[in-house]
């Protein structure tokens, strides 16, 4: 039902667009097609597509057209997005974790020495995600807390145990940009 003329190509563009798709943009992609034809195709596409009563609809918004889910499915979408494991780490978290993994047990100030930035809030995040744990106190002035990685850390990165962690030397040939 969408195979007539530019209907499907425009639908494809709506699908990949990050901002509302405007007629001006369409005219740029198809400079030889009269604007009127583009307008008609678009209007027809909107009415055809929306008559499907699918979870997704084309809406006119911000001077253009956009594919969005219909509001009634927000709860399902939210539930789905919550199932996505929080496997994602910010770069700061990753760096802090790397220092802890390789230098454990290690104190916050030692981490800061290596990273060059304060890592306090990152430490909290990593503790919350149970990727690191406290590992006693260092026997120096102030007796600062030391941190190390957890079993969850090994699971998260698919390591059987810490000895599975590649050493820097080992990955040298992979990491150094020398090439073949």
């Amino acid at each position: 039902m969408f195979e007539k003329g530019l209907t499907n190509p425009i639908l494809a563009m709506l699908f990949v667009a990050t901002d509302p798709l405007t007629l001006a943009e369409l005219q740029e992609v198809y400079p030889k097609t009269p604007l009127e034809d583009l307008t008609n195709t678009l209007t027809e596409l909107v009415s055809q597509f929306n008559s499907l009563q699918a979870a997704v609809e084309i809406r006119e918004i911000g001077g253009g057209y956009r594919l969005t889910t219909r509001p009634e499915y927000h709860e399902d979408i939210r539930a789905y997005l919550q199932t996505k494991p929080s496997a994602k780490l910010s770069l700061a978290a990753l760096e802090t974790l790397a220092v802890i993994a390789y230098k454990q047990p290690v104190t916050i100030s030692e981490i800061m020495d290596i990273r060059g930035v304060n890592s306090g809030s990152t430490i909290r995040t990593l503790l919350e995600k149970k990727l690191i744990q406290t590992r006693g106190r260092k026997k120096v002035v102030g007796r600062p807390i030391m941190y190390g990685t957890t079993k969850d850390f090994a699971i998260h990165f698919g390591l059987k145990d810490l000895s599975d962690l590649p050493t820097l030397e080992e990955l040298e040939e992979v990491l150094s940009p020398a090439g073949e």
Binding site: F15, G116, L175
Partner: protein, 256 residues
Amino acid sequence: MASELTMEAGALASPQIQNQAYTVRLEIFEGPLDLLLHLIRQQEIDIYEIALAEIADQYLHYLEMMKDLNITVAGEFLVMAATLIHIKSRMLLPEEPNSEVEQEIEEFRKDLVQQLLDHEKFKQAAQMLYVRETVELSVWPRGENEFEEEERELVSATVFDLVSAFHQMVERYKESIVLEVAGESVTVQEKLEEIRRLLSVQESILFSFFFERGLSHLHLVVTFFALLELTRLHEVRLIQTAAFEDIRIQSCLKKD
């Protein structure tokens, strides 16, 4: 799929005369096995039927050709060449049925045939992946939406990311010591104003911009704090689309 290189050269086998210079087409081989397979295909013989002495000669001749053309021959090619020369020298010894020498040659032959067969299989697999990739690159998933925007600034991490992050930090740490300059002072407030000024004339700045200017360690730390402060005030957003990519500092203040 094999990439080919056309080059001008002084003199060579099967050259075509063209404006008094010889033009030679030389295929680029990924390694010794690739070259051997090519030589076998040229003769249109079955891999099982290869004549070791002949193929060794051709292989060595090809390496000579590369040398003449001043093409650097990778170590792997030379290792294979040495092996072939060794086998050839063994073959020149007087024949003695079922001798150790004969067994050694037969063993080598069997191994080489197996290696070539395996190699060819995986070249076919690579070809198959190439075709699949070509098809896949013409389909598009959906563009980013509001739900994903927050996620996009994060990266999902693997062990490799972890090691690389550490590696980079160590490198950074080494360099930062050199950058230290004594007796200078800069405040977070000053840096904050500087970043605001920059963002009033351009939409975004790359994080590396501050590094490229060869600023001291102190400046970098202060810059970092200034950025954190601006992020907290919702004046800027820090965007990193993938691990190890440069961080883009984008103004959140609408200018129009």
